[in-house]
Amino acid sequence: MIETLRASRRLVNSMLQELSSDRWNQATAAHLLNRAGFGGPPAAVKQLAGLGLAGAVDFLVDYEKIPDPTPNPDWAKPEPERMLHLQAVNRTGTPEEKRKLQQETQQLQRQRILELRGWWLARMARGPRPLQEKMALFWHGHFATSFEKVRDAYFMWRQNDIFRRLATGNWPLLLLEVGKDPAMLVWLDQAQSRREHPNENFAREVMELFTLGEGHYTEHDITEAARALTGWSLERQQQRYVYRPLLHDGGEKTIFGHSGHFDGDAFIELIVAQPPAAKFITAKIWNYFAGDMLAPELNEALAAHFRTNGNHFKPFLRALFRSEEFYSPEIVRNQVKSPVQWLVGTARMLECDLPPTLVSWGLTRQLGQDLFAPPNVKGWDGGVTWITTNTLLTRYNDAQSLVDGTVPPLTANDFGGKGAGNGQKAMKALQRLRIGGVSVEKILTPEEREHNPAILASLQNRLFQTDLKKNQQETMQAFLDAKTKMSDADIRTAIRLMMSTPEYQVT
């Protein structure tokens, strides 16, 4: 027994060794860029490879050193006057006035959330800090909050801003900021919690989904935690968090066996101190960036590292991206691209613009990842669940639209389902549009274009950073050889074909 424990301890200690420098090359650099960011063109991979492992990881992790001048949407601020007007009409307006205002508000919010989707996708596709955006996307899936209930684009932006600001920060601090932010207060009903009727929604989910996982707390812990959390409230006119002492239950609570006059802040502290907390969040981050947990000892090692570094994500991520395990054959090219990764990664690798927001949104939604509208508080399942027969065919067909710069076969439903009228209007507007598309001269040199094997090798390196299977290479070679005079359109179709493979769906 003691022997096995010792053996296990030795195993934990042998984990997270640094990747040996002779394994650092273009392929490992590409893997790092694909996972810690959204991939990039050959030049970006080459540049990263040139920095060495430690330099490359620092470049991605210490992103604060790179200025990101992206301005916020101009409406991303509280609007006390508009809120006041809303309240007044709701109190004293006629039914007709109320209805009209409700419609206007809804339209305004829909317009803003669409803009926000485009704003974020653009940051992912073109921004200078890919890891920060990749972590923001992780947190969005983790604290999965939907506009469908929150119904306020400013609140969704605020939450997104926290995810970005604290992307690689301190765990309890992030929990507190997210918990006390309007979007979460509305999403999990904390804003409605009162001393007399504590609402248990946030108390339950914060433990089950955000920090500990099922089995690491009791129903009694939930009830008591809900009491502790009372007082966390929403100031609707100023559109911000407020602590309301009158709503707070100041009595004694017992949570995880500890008794005291806990409030919400104290409860969050208690959670993070629970032994399963570090294992839970580090396993989820490992899964997001790497994939399967290779061994229980790896999770032990990740959790230990996280705790030793004061529950900070930055040193943890640095160790993760430098570890031998992150580059193991079980991990590399074994992750299904999420729809966002697929779209944004394609734009980055092919050096083309994202389609207009409405189209980008339609695409990601069609493929199962509607930003700011995850299916529920558990977020997206990810992994192989991204792939169904129809999402796969859709990816293959959308690839053609992306490389050609045409509007993909979207339907009114891809623009929100309910407002079919709006969807149809959007479709009509789109038919007049042409979108980015790939410029062939950007991605192939004139010399490469002269020789079909060179075209194939270049595209393969750009899209996969590895070789396709032999029969696939032969198929592509035959496709190119059959063209007597190679046009740009032919090259784009070749790219589309290479994207219409199982291989392109993984990274």
Binding site: N201, R333, G383, V384, N390, L392, L393, Q400, S500, P502
Partner: protein, 448 residues
């Protein structure tokens, strides 16, 4: 039995692509034996399995937006009803009587005919404890069959596929629409969705592109996914594993690429199948011209074409009638009744009606009292409709009380948990145990 039905086309595929050529030198011997056995079985039962004539089919029809149950199945003789709805209340002359107390909305002529033929049942007062009045959340509760306080990751139909349809074709679940409903979410994603069969395909700008696409997506049976000593080997040795492997199920510890490669083949195969059926089978009834009727026409074709589908999912939107409810609901219910009636006529002509059960649901009913805008606000319990040749016809359950003291925050209380209806559908219609799917034992309602 279910494997016989669902495996057929996969066997056909195997014969064509694997047994045809590569088998002799790429697949280990023990596997080759199994393939041969499958092939023999398939040949023996080919006709029966192609049409799947004995399998029951469920068609789920979502009335999205929260249909006003009170003005659908109308308690026209009830004083509380008329007091709560001075403007919207329907009188005896506006409805189609089915009993001394209850009548169907006058627009539901199609449903009334089905009712009179003994092909329609009305389950009264269906809901769940602690009703949620958010469209989003209440729809989710219906789709995942969860308790009001609990979030479930997977849908009830997804769990049905996971539990009872291992090894099934991807077409075991078909949604007509552009988004897979949450009800289909599953640990092992299955089920396909499309608006128009013409879009459910690889769109190629030329035959060279089409040919190349097929070659690029050929399954390489010698790949790592089939070597018995890697992660997938254990699965190959367990019961039913060939079926699972070929059904494109994710393999724990397997490569993501293998799963995607199998899904790519499934996509190619089901795309050809569906487009073929849609082009070949003709509708045999006059349908109205509406999106709902369009969906039902397509479902009828797919049923007629013998797809191995167990669940079809379609929806009709627009029921969120906060303002000016009368004309909107009139139009929607008319469409509903006429479309479903045409669908039943079509299936009758096909000889398939006895295999099909249509079930309607809406995320909630509406408030008993009308609002000031000629509409109604979000409520709770409401009726469901079941349509089939073998349905337990008539009014099931009893009408919820409308007496003010019996309401909860202005809403009628449920007297049938919707999960009892699901349990009845699963056990009595789809012939599978409901407990592993619903997670709790609900008394199955005798729907058929």
């Amino acid at each position: 039995m279910k494997n016989e039905i669902t495996l057929q086309t996969r066997r056909e595929f195997l014969r064509r692509t694997v047994l045809g050529s590569a088998l002799t030198w790429t697949v280990p011997a023990f596997l080759a034996d199994t393939f041969s056995a499958l092939q023999a079985q398939a040949a023996a039962s080919a006709t029966q399995t192609v049409t799947g004539k004995d399998a029951t089919i469920l068609v789920v029809l979502q009335m999205a937006g929260g249909n006003d149950g009170l003005n659908t199945v109308v308690p026209y003789a009830n004083d509380f009803y008329h007091r709560a709805r001075p403007k919207l209340g329907l009188k005896a002359g506006d409805i189609l009587k089915v009993s001394d107390d209850v009548g169907l909305h006058g627009a539901l002529k199609g449903f009334k005919e089905l009712y009179d033929n003994g092909q329609l049942s009305v389950i009264q007062g269906v809901g769940y404890p602690n009703p949620n009045r958010s469209h989003f959340r209440s729809t989710e509760i219906w789709q995942t069959a969860s308790d009001s306080e609990r979030i479930e990751k997977y849908g009830w139909l997804g769990r049905y596929f996971d539990n009872a349809c291992a090894g099934a074709e991807p077409t075991v679940g078909v949604t007509i629409g552009s988004q897979l409903p949450e009800a289909f979410f599953a640990a092992k994603p299955r089920g396909i969705c499309f608006n128009n069969p013409q879009n459910y395909r690889f769109m190629a700008n030329g035959s060279a592109t089409e040919e190349s696409y097929k070659k690029l997506n050929e399954l390489e049976m010698s790949g790592p996914g089939l070597t018995p000593d890697d992660g997938s080997g254990g699965m190959l040795n367990s019961g039913g594993s060939i079926a699972q492997l070929l059904a494109g199920m994710p393999m724990t510890g397997g490569r993501a690429i293998d799963f995607i490669a199998r899904t790519a083949l499934d996509a190619q195969h089901s795309s050809e199948e569906i487009r073929g059926v849609a082009a070949r089978v003709q509708n045999q009834a006059e349908y109205p011209a509406s999106p709902l009727a369009g969906s039902l026409k397509l479902v009828a074709k797919l049923i007629g074409g013998g797809l191995p589908t167990r669940v079809y999912y379609i929806s009709q939107g627009g029921y969120d009638t906060h303002t000016n409810q009368i004309p909107t609901q009139q139009r929607l219910l008319q469409d509903l009744g006429d479309s479903v009636k045409a669908f039943v006529t079509d299936l009758t002509a096909q000889g398939n009606l006895s295999r099909v059960l249509v079930m309607t649901f809406s995320e909630f009913g509406r408030r008993v009292a009308e609002n000031a805008n000629g509409g109604t606000d979000h409520g709770a319990a409401a009726p469901m409709f079941m349509i089939s040749q073998r349905v337990n016809a008539g009014l099931l359950g009893h009408y919820p009380s409308l007496a003010p003291q019996d309401l909860f925050q202005g809403d009628v209380k449920y007297n049938v948990d919707f999960r009892s209806v699901y349990a009845g559908v699963l056990e009595n219609w789809l012939k599978t145990k409901s407990l592993p799917i619903l997670g709790q034992q609900f008394p199955p309602l005798a729907v058929v």
